[in-house]
């Protein structure tokens, strides 16, 4: 007994501070088995327990089986930490392993141990270990009891950063736990972020109503506005509800954006040539230029003008030149040119609709339709209680002219994207079953419905689209615009993960060629941004199916059989092959869509795409540039740009088109000089190919989106939140690029405007508690990953100090450079309300 006691003291004395296996144990190792034998013989329960303790510690170094745990359970239940850190870690590992193959009774016993381990971990800067253990045994609920003020922050950070790496439904549990913790410590902004990440309206509402501090309410409203969530609240629930609703509906966005523009001195409108910089191209002065207008180049100029001056409310082509420019475009070109007004006047509900209004009186259907679309775009992401978009556009939804219908339907889709307004959907859904509508109108309606009901699982929309899919013949569904119907379905279930299973099940009724495409589409949308590895693997499987190989085998078989039979089968095969390619294209984009959320997944996807590009069918090759664009939207990473640049010279025209567009997407709104040089060089290379040149121009326009103040990235708030509306906009654009020749280079280039849904200013505006812009110094630098790091590490590196409002590039983070104020939101992005620091002394 005494011997054991002294042994225990010795071991403890040498282990407390060490993480490695201590010396005394080394000498005990040969006696491990003897000790076990001795243990069996000991009768006195107390002595037996002591002995068990010692064996347990020894087992850490010796045993392959879980003897450490076994003897721990037999031992005395005193302070676990006294045996040192390494011991606790080892024990945790064994508990996790044991948990899986033991029953409820054993679980109870293990839980007792766990309850000892967790507080020890929390007290010793090992929050990550604690979380890991609880995740393994799926008992995160215990966590809440043990987290204290000092640790909760790091715990939450660790939990949220684990989300992309755990399978569904555990990821949701992690978020919920983190949310609870934040609520416990009254960290409403973080809690709100998590609730938005969960996309749980109930929780969002609760958090909002719980908040009583008026400034904090404003801050929360700004955050909700960024995610385009507008709560229906009234004064009975929250004070000053009107003001808060106004913030949530983003009515201030235009005002603050223009403020930023004035601050940066970029109000002067730019013409497309300012972006093309063709004087830097090494070609002779435009040859015979100015004499003939090229409809395609003018169309490109319309788009570029719109993209570059987006949101600024002034330009030199449309507003100054009057209608002259519109008539320099042809037919559908006129529509897109007029619609670019919507881009120019983006978010300006009060002042923006009036300049568009006069075009509604035009004699030309295309111009009217464009004006309708423009009205919709102005309202994109901004809500007004007068609902001008609905009032103006709903009359044209059932118009006799298909052109007018397109403008109004897509306009509604953009204006109410993410709102899930039943009033709007009621106007749109009848179009789906309208026999007079052509496939283009139906497709765009499906898309618009999907955008409005994005991520809502709204059954009205899914039922209506399903109905349409069932009613149409196989031939109808082969039309290129049919692809937007499943996209509409998918958008409804965006980010809803396994909730989409029911819908996928019901898609089984559609006949095969279309079914697999639709199923894949819904699936990828449902898991968008989750980083779900299993889904990515499944998609890769789809991509890796080569359809020639089975055909050859088939031939070998058939040579033995009859000749006519062979022909039949071959036809079958070919048919199948052609149809399934649509599915593969979706799968490729899906890989990007799922893995775009976190960096490691995106990196892996990038490498996978390299293989796909090299070895796969043309249809996959065409989709890959788009997917590359999607994993790095508005983030011009060099390796991605280089790959795209390589494929922008591809001999397959569609690969080249898509690669060029993707380059624009990757650099969207960054003014990236390297990209600009690449595109100029491409413009030279493709000078004689009008289609590619068109793409280059569009890409140039995108690269200078909003003169470099806007971003298309769907991620915001520290890359944590994915805006479903933005994803919807990007997906709509990418899906239309899957048939680039027929859609974008054909007559439906207006679908490029779906990008509007993804546009948002990449700025940081600081506001005082009474709503006024408050210029303060901030440090802006590259964000540092601080997950799992002890202490208070620096969160940014290589920073510069600016005065707000400032632009934030991808991966940049800001922090206040003054002690005078305290930000109400921990994430310095978008709109941040500042509160005076009561302890500040000048």
């Amino acid at each position: 007994m005494a011997a054991l006691e002294s042994l225990r003291t010795l071991i403890r004395a040498s282990t407390t501070s060490m993480t490695s296996v201590p010396k005394p144990l080394k000498f005990l190792r040969p006696h491990f088995d003897t000790l076990k034998e001795v243990f069996e013989k000991i009768q006195d329960p107390q002595t037996k327990q002591f002995c068990a303790d010692v064996i347990s510690v020894l087992a850490m170094t010796m045993s392959e089986t879980r003897e450490c745990l076994k003897y721990r359970l037999l031992g005395s239940e005193d302070q676990i930490g006294e045996w040192g850190h390494e011991y606790v870690r080892h024990l945790s590992g064994e508990i996790a392993a044991d948990w899986a193959d033991s029953d409820d009774q054993a679980h109870e016993r293990l839980l007792v141990l766990v309850r000892q381990i967790i507080p020890y971990n929390m007290a010793h800067n090992a929050e990550a270990d604690a979380c890991d253990l609880l995740m393994e045994i799926e008992h995160l609920d215990i966590l809440e009891q043990f987290v204290d003020e000092g640790a909760y922050h790091r715990v939450c950070l660790y939990l949220t950063s684990c989300v992309p790496y755990v399978p569904d439904p555990e990821n949701t549990i992690l978020l919920e736990t983190s949310l609870k913790l934040n609520m416990k410590f009254n960290q409403l902004p973080q809690a709100m972020l998590l609730a938005m990440q969960l996309n749980d309206m109930e929780k969002i509402r609760n958090i909002f109503i719980q908040c009583t501090d008026p400034s904090m309410q404003k801050q929360l409203s700004y955050m909700l506005g960024r995610q385009q969530i507008c709560l229906e609240i009234d004064d009975s629930e929250v004070k000053d509800s009107e003001e808060l609703v106004e913030i949530m509906s983003n009515n201030h966005l235009n005002h603050h954006f223009l403020n930023l523009a004035r601050e940066l001195d970029i109000m002067e409108p730019k013409v497309p040539e300012d972006v093309y910089k063709s004087h830097l191209e090494n070609v002779r002065a435009t040859f015979g230029g100015g004499q003939v207008d090229s409809a395609r180049q003018n169309l490109a100029a319309s788009f570029v003008n719109g993209f570059v001056n987006a949101g600024f409310g002034q330009d030199k082509l449309l507003m100054d030149g009057g209608t002259k420019w519109l008539y320099k475009n042809k037919e559908h070109g006129m529509m897109s040119a007029t619609a670019s007004l919507g881009l120019l006047l983006l978010w300006d509900i009060d002042g923006g609709l009036t300049p568009i209004d006069k075009y509604l009186y035009s004699a030309e259907d295309y111009i009217k339709s464009g004006a309708l679309l423009a009205c919709g775009m102005v309202n994109c992401g901004v809500r007004s209680e007068c609902d001008p978009a609905l009032a103006l556009l709903s009359d044209y939804v059932m118009h006799t002219s298909n052109v007018m219908r397109l403008g109004s339907i897509l306009g509604l889709g953009l204006a109410y994207a993410g709102s899930n307004r039943s009033q709007v959907l009621k106007v749109l859904t009848p179009v789906l079953s309208d026999p007079k509508a052509n496939m283009e109108v139906i497709g765009v309606t499906g898309l618009a419905c999907g955008m409005i009901a994005v991520g809502s699982t709204n059954s009205t929309v899914t039922n209506a689209i399903m109905q349409t899919l069932m009613e149409h013949s196989e031939a109808d569904l082969k039309e290129t615009f049919a692809r937007f119907l499943p996209l509409g379905l998918g958008l409804c279930y965006l980010g809803r993960q396994e909730q989409a299973d029911v819908l996928i099940e019901s898609l089984g009724v559609i006949s095969e060629p279309f079914r697999s495409m639709a199923v894949t589409m819904v699936e990828v949308c449902a898991y968008a941004g989750t980083g779900n590895v299993l889904k990515v693997q499944k998609l890769l499987h789809i991509c890796s199916e080569h359809y020639e190989t089975p055909e050859k085998e088939e031939k070998k078989h058939d040579r033995k059989g009859k000749d006519d039979k062979k022909d039949d089968k071959k036809d079958d095969k070919e048919e199948k092959e052609k149809d399934l390619t649509a599915r593969q294209a979706i799968a490729v984009i899906g890989i990007a869509l799922i893995s775009m959320g976190e960096d490691i997944g995106a990196e892996m996807a990038y490498r996978t795409f390299g293989h796909l590009l090299r070895y796969c069918e043309p249809v996959i090759r065409r989709a890959v540039p788009l997917a590359l664009g999607l994993i790095s939207v508005s983030n011009p990473k060099l390796n991605i740009l280089d790959t795209l640049s390589k494929f922008s010279h591809d001999s397959d025209a569609e690969v080249a088109h898509n690669a060029i567009f993707a380059m624009g997407m990757v650099g969207a709104g960054t003014n990236n000089a390297r990209l600009a040089a690449m595109l100029r060089q491409l413009a030279q290379y493709h000078a004689k190919d009008p289609n590619n040149l068109f793409m280059v121009r569009i890409a140039q326009g995108l690269a200078h989106l909003g003169k470099g103040t806007l971003t298309l990235s769907p991620y915001h708030s520290g890359h944590q939140l994915m805006s479903p509306v933005a994803v919807a906009g990007l997906m709509a654009t990418l899906v239309s690029f899957l048939d680039v020749k027929a859609i974008i280079l054909g007559k439906s280039h207006y679908l490029l405007y779906t990008l509007v849904a993804a546009m948002s200013p990449r700025m940081l505006v600081t506001l005082s508690e009474d709503f006024q812009p408050l210029p303060v110094p901030v440090r802006v630098g590259m964000a540092v990953d601080v997950v799992g790091q002890a202490g208070k590490p620096k969160t940014i590196t290589g920073f510069q100090t600016h005065t707000t409002p400032v632009l934030l590039a991808h991966g940049e983070r800001a922090e206040l450079a003054t002690e005078e104020f305290i930000p109400l939101s921990p994430i310095m992005e978008g709109f941040v309300v500042l509160r005076k620091n009561p302890e500040y002394e000048a």
């Binding site: 002779r284 002065a285 040859f287 015979g288 004499q291 003939v292 207008d293 090229s294 409809a295 395609r296 009057g322 209608t323 002259k324 519109l326 008539y327 320099k328 042809k330 009060d350 002042g351 609709l353 009036t354 300049p355 209004d357 006069k358 075009y359 009186y361 035009s362 004699a363 030309e364 111009i367 007004s384 209680e385 007068c386 609902d387 001008p388 609905l390 009032a391 103006l392 709903s394 009359d395 009033q423 009008p690």
Partner: protein, 484 residues
């Protein structure tokens, strides 16, 4: 029951508060109220509330409440008008229309190995005087070469691609060996230089000279030069030099071992050693033959003697050697002292202008100047072109300075195979057109200079130089002032 409500109306950034609204009255009354406030005609007003528009026929089920905010859209501006002139788009034009719009010269269709002829015609078209007189030539109904050529030139002016069928027929009739057929019935490729020579020869008889009694034909007048040839016997000092005159239509540039530049190729021909029966020595003696130009034609043709007959293989083999040629050519060294004296005054003027310009450029360094591309155009406006011929001899060159007008190239290894292409100068500086049969495309100076040979790329075979026109400022005194 009367409902009189106070509502707000928003129009753009303006908000009008407390407008009285009576729902029993016609909506037009309300619109008229708004008209008085905003000046927007009622029929141009779009009044909306809560996602619905106010219709002119009644209030319908609009949820009008006290204090509600209406949104009014509408402008008092003029409506957008359609421009009178429809914009013409590149995509809608046929190739021919596009060519005229872009000022591209018309192409000629290849009728089966007739690129040699097409290229020649394109080059000859670069002599404006010749082109003008051919186009203006009244058709004489005959199907001679000159007539058909004039026909071709006329149709080429419309800008569309021309199939020169008649011309080919006429050429075949005039020069039967061009009609030679290959083993499988197609026409054979011919030597473009021969075709050039033949065409020029045929035109000699068809076109009379203009304003000149010195020459018999237009071709001689503008393209023909005169060589003064002196034969000096090297073996006898007593024998007087024999001076004779030779007319030429082109200069030949022989390509020897050392020939690296067209100038040296041409100069090599000035002094030649030949053996000839000497009358004074009554035996064959070595003579030095000095050929110098006594009259410079306005349009000087230079032929590179690139082909030589290889007897063993019985083909006209090509010398691929790189022989550079200049875009600006100075014929000074090839001229007789008499002619040199004659052209001296014009050359002095050229120099003067040049000096003036360099000085201007030096002085103008500090001045803000328009960008480089615009400058020459602007300078040209103030200049006046001087005649390039001697007044007593229209069609001659009075300075010895030439500018390259057209290049006929050959690609391939022998003259009766490969492909001939004409490269002609455009109107604006640095613009050239590559006339590859029916495909005409714009190219740059640099690409022209790359035609000097040395590889399997197109190699210059015939060059056509035109006169460099002296441009004198109209108001020399004021020009520098105006820039300040």
């Amino acid at each position: 029951m009367h409902f009189i409500l106070a509502v707000k109306v928003k129009w753009g950034k303006n908000v009008y508060n407390d407008i009285e609204l009576n729902t029993d009255e016609h909506p037009l009354v309300f619109k008229a109220q708004i008209f008085t406030l905003t000046g927007v005609q009622p029929d141009r007003q779009k009044v909306m509330l809560k996602g619905a528009q106010l219709k002119d026929d009644g209030w319908g089920d609009l949820p009008v409440k006290n204090g509600a905010t209406f949104l009014m859209l509408g402008t008092a501006d003029e409506l957008a008008l359609e421009p009178e002139k429809k914009t013409v788009f590149m995509e809608d034009l046929s190739e021919a229309e596009l060519n005229t719009k872009l000022d591209l010269p018309a192409g000629l269709v290849n009728l089966g190995n007739t690129c040699y002829m097409n290229a020649t015609v394109q080059c000859l078209k670069m002599v404006p005087e010749l082109k003008k007189s051919l186009v203006e030539l009244r058709p004489q109904g005959s199907s001679g070469l000159v007539d058909s050529l004039s026909e071709v030139f006329r149709s080429m002016q419309t800008g569309s691609c021309v199939p020169p069928l008649l011309l080919l027929g006429a050429l075949h009739r005039a020069v039967p060996r061009f009609a030679e057929k290959g083993p499988n019935g197609g026409l054979c490729q011919q030597d473009a230089s021969e075709c050039w020579t033949e065409m020029v020869r045929l035109m000699q008889s068809g076109l009379p000279a203009q304003n000149s009694n010195k020459h018999n034909s237009l071709v001689e007048q503008y393209m023909g030069g005169r060589m003064s040839v002196t034969l000096q016997c090297t073996e006898s000092d007593t024998e007087p030099p024999l001076v004779s005159e030779e007319n030429f239509l082109h200069l030949s540039c022989f390509i020897g071992q050392e020939t690296g530049h067209m100038n040296s190729g041409l100069k090599a021909k000035i002094k030649e050693q030949i053996s000839k029966m000497s009358s004074s020595l009554s035996r064959d003696a070595v003579y030095t033959k000095t050929s110098l130009i006594d009259r410079l034609p306005a349009y000087l043709t230079v032929q590179f003697v690139r082909f030589y007959y290889k007897e063993r293989e019985a083909v006209n083999a090509k010398i691929l050697k790189d022989v550079k040629f200049p875009l600006q050519f100075d014929a000074w060294e090839l001229c007789t002292p008499r002619l040199q004296a004659l052209i001296e005054p014009t050359r002095a003027k050229f120099k003067e202008i040049e000096d003036q310009r360099t000085q201007d450029a030096l002085e103008g360094k500090d001045k803000p100047k328009p960008s480089k591309g615009v400058e020459p155009m602007e300078v040209d406006k103030d200049l006046e072109a001087q005649p390039y011929s001697f007044t007593d001899d229209p069609g001659s060159n009075n300075s010895g300075y030439y500018e390259l007008q057209a290049v006929l190239t050959h690609r391939g290894r022998s003259s009766s195979s490969g492909h001939y292409v004409a490269w002609v100068k455009g109107d604006s500086p640095d613009t050239w057109y590559k006339c590859d049969d029916d495909v005409v495309s714009p190219v740059t100076d640099k690409e022209i200079l790359k035609l000097s040979g040395g590889g399997d790329w197109h190699v210059a075979y015939m060059l056509l130089y035109g006169p460099k026109v002296l441009k004198v400022p109209k108001k020399p005194a004021e020009e520098p002032m105006s820039e300040n």
